[in-house]
Symmetry: C2
Subunit: 426 residues, 2 copies
């Protein structure tokens, strides 16, 4: 069968029955993503492979539209088509994405004019204004606490855990992370802490429960704040932790410590100096603080598909870029640690639990939602493994802050036994 | 006595006998350095003090020329005049400089048009070209090994030490620093290391002696290289450590590890991308490296006086600025630590030894040299105490480097007993 070059071919089902146009277009995928070890198969036809590469994965593309979308924007083209079942990948999804990311990283940064346009379009529509941020956060974090309970740890900590050993459980590792954050801040009883973006409140409650500090925690997610307040009441900590349903930009008052875990990703680079100014207004030159965020080794945009479908308005800065929050205000950077392998491991736990709850998720939100979120978790594992994503923890202090310990050895003393935490039932 | 406003007055020796012009000019010093707790006294006259400030120090300015130079450029004006005895300060010099730096820091960045011009002039004349760097380095490090032996530790380590406890001796702390650097790099026997700017060779020899690695170490200081080679021969390490008298820019070959301790200060910000490119050429994406350097919390120039008299061509970058070495080449920043209090302590040890050897130093190079170096050491202590200077250690790795340990706990295990080092006698 010979299709005309000038008419869009119908999808051909038989082996070897795909069009000359498709055969001509398919190799172009490799000029987008580099020589990844995969065979691209159109319909049920024969496949194309980069020259000299032994394929480890087969990517089956259902139709010409899907192929065209992939060529215009590999990120969104793949993400949407995989979610809708128009692309199928044989073999382990994480390993496949890892191979593709590694191939893309070594091929160097590239984006089609179309993809760059899409990126700008997304950026414009998801701008982190006060109203935009509320919408962006709502669309991700207010999906429903029952959903997150299916695959997060019992404390609902939705940020990178810290595995003191490679065999630690997720519950242990999330608790160790809370301890690590508090240790890095060297919290003292009686101090006041302001938290920007508190999730379901685990860190704020942990600080108040174990370090004798008072915490004021901000979040624009209504569902999360509702849950956090309920937990504070159940634990009788509501006189020491105040959960405020508001944007961090509306913070006021003074505190000794500023902390933000997994929030900078939602701030947007254009607001970094504003965030720094706010931190300075709250903790001044005598205070200190902590930033924990997904970063990158080089400046660049967050995945277009992730921004379109999962995290609207998200941006992962390079370390130098993130320092725009601190340097204009003369903050001293005391300690930076990259926990990249810890986030890969955290996400492996999440994906494992998510997979086990797949039927429930599909029942709650439908199969496409389930596939989109599976892809997001798998892609994030791959990103942290390959290193397109990093996880930075920064400890900083004002010029007039008293002093930190001589060394960081105190961070690594054995962990004291902390009061056990009982998951809230509401 | 009433001097005309329009003629330059003669210096008046009697109490209260200084001119109206001088009385009018003196308070302007405070508009340069902020309300520092000092009384400025002209000749033997009465003094001026910032309003509402209780003076802790008296600064005696000998003549109008000195006062004018101070107003035109407080850094060079003070440094040169103090060195030549035209300015005298009562009380502890370090404490005085600390008070002035703190006052200048809170007054905010300012420099007169003249000082800015001087800064540019110095920058131009001390540019770190291949030839310029050689001249810059020669003028500081080739003064004579006997001089440095008077006040450095027995291994001649001329960079920030690491005090595992506040009571460690300088010898212990310099050794602990060498161990810390090697631990942060997780050196493995058989690996190859390239060092840019090796001083008198202590780190290179330490690595070869204790970690079974081969080291190629570069330095343009002839005196230092001569000494380092002699030490390598004495210790029978010359088959494992090669000391090369050459500029880091002339490096070639490949290595597993790049290390540079106290060298970035001499590179110049305009050469950071070049340095990064060189690192990438040597250790590629599979290697790793270490940068240890004097930095700042905000972008700014190194003291003009220090550049003019002590460290020609020096620049201390902010952390974000220093990342220009790494980010363009996709290096992952694994760990950043600020050792600021350690450098203040190191310098206190140096100044203490320097003070004890003051007569010898004066005998070797004259009283003005002795005073200039005492001021440099005292000013550096003050800078690190106040925080106008920081000391950053950065561990980085290429995208394809295998892996670092899960945590940094291994850095803080007790130090094994290392073979004792006997100071070279030559």
């Amino acid at each position: 069968m010979q299709a005309s070059d000038f008419s869009l071919p119908e999808h051909a089902d038989g082996p070897g029955k795909f069009s000359r146009l498709e055969r001509w277009l398919a190799p172009l995928v490799f000029s987008e993503v580099g020589p990844a070890p995969m065979r691209i198969v159109l319909g049920n036809g024969q496949g194309v492979t980069p020259p000299g590469v032994i394929p480890r994965f087969t990517v089956r593309i259902r139709d010409l539209r899907t192929l065209m979308e992939l060529l215009l924007d590999p990120e969104i083209g793949f993400g949407d088509a995989w979610t809708e079942g128009r692309i199928q990948v044989t073999g382990d999804l994480v390993a496949f994405l890892e191979a593709v990311y590694a191939s893309m990283a070594s091929a160097g940064p590239s984006a089609t004019w179309y993809a760059r346009l899409v990126s700008k379009w997304i950026e414009f529509h998801q701008a982190n204004t006060l109203e935009g941020s509320r919408r962006n956060i709502h669309s991700h974090y207010d999906i429903g606490n029952d959903f997150y309970r299916l695959w997060l740890d019992s404390q609902l900590v939705y940020t990178c855990a810290y595995f003191p050993s490679a065999t630690a459980t997720l519950e242990e590792a999330q608790n160790a992370k809370l301890v690590l954050v508090c240790r890095k801040l060297r919290l003292q009883p009686g101090e006041t802490v302001v938290e920007a973006g508190c999730g379901w409140g685990a860190l704020a409650l942990h600080m108040a429960r174990n370090y004798g500090v008072r915490v004021k925690a901000f979040n624009v997610s209504r569902e999360q704040i509702r849950y956090a307040r309920e937990r504070a009441r159940q634990e009788n900590l509501h006189d020491r932790v105040e959960f405020v349903e508001d944007d961090y930009r509306n913070m006021s008052g003074k505190a000794d410590v500023f902390v933000s875990v997994g929030m900078l990703e939602h701030v947007g680079a254009e607001n970094y100096t504003g965030l720094g100014s706010l931190i300075h207004q709250v903790v001044g030159d005598r205070g200190r603080g902590f930033l924990h965020f997904i970063g990158r080794s080089q400046r660049g945009d967050f995945s277009r598909w992730i921004r379109k479908r999962i995290f609207p308005g998200a941006h992962a800065p390079s370390l130098a870029e993130s320092l725009q929050v601190l340097e204009p205000f003369g903050y001293f950077v005391h300690d930076v640690e990259d926990l990249r392998p810890h986030y890969a491991r955290t996400l492996e736990h999440w994906l494992d639990r998510f997979d086990k709850a797949a039927t429930q998720v599909t029942g709650m939100y439908g199969p496409e939602f389930e596939r989109a979120w599976r892809l997001y978790l798998a892609g994030s594992i791959a990103g942290f493994r390959v290193g397109t994503l990093q996880l930075f923890q920064i400890v900083f202090a004002g010029a007039k802050f008293g002093s930190m310990p001589w060394t960081r050895a105190d961070l690594y003393r054995p962990q004291e036994a902390l009061p056990e935490w009982t998951p809230a039932t509401s």
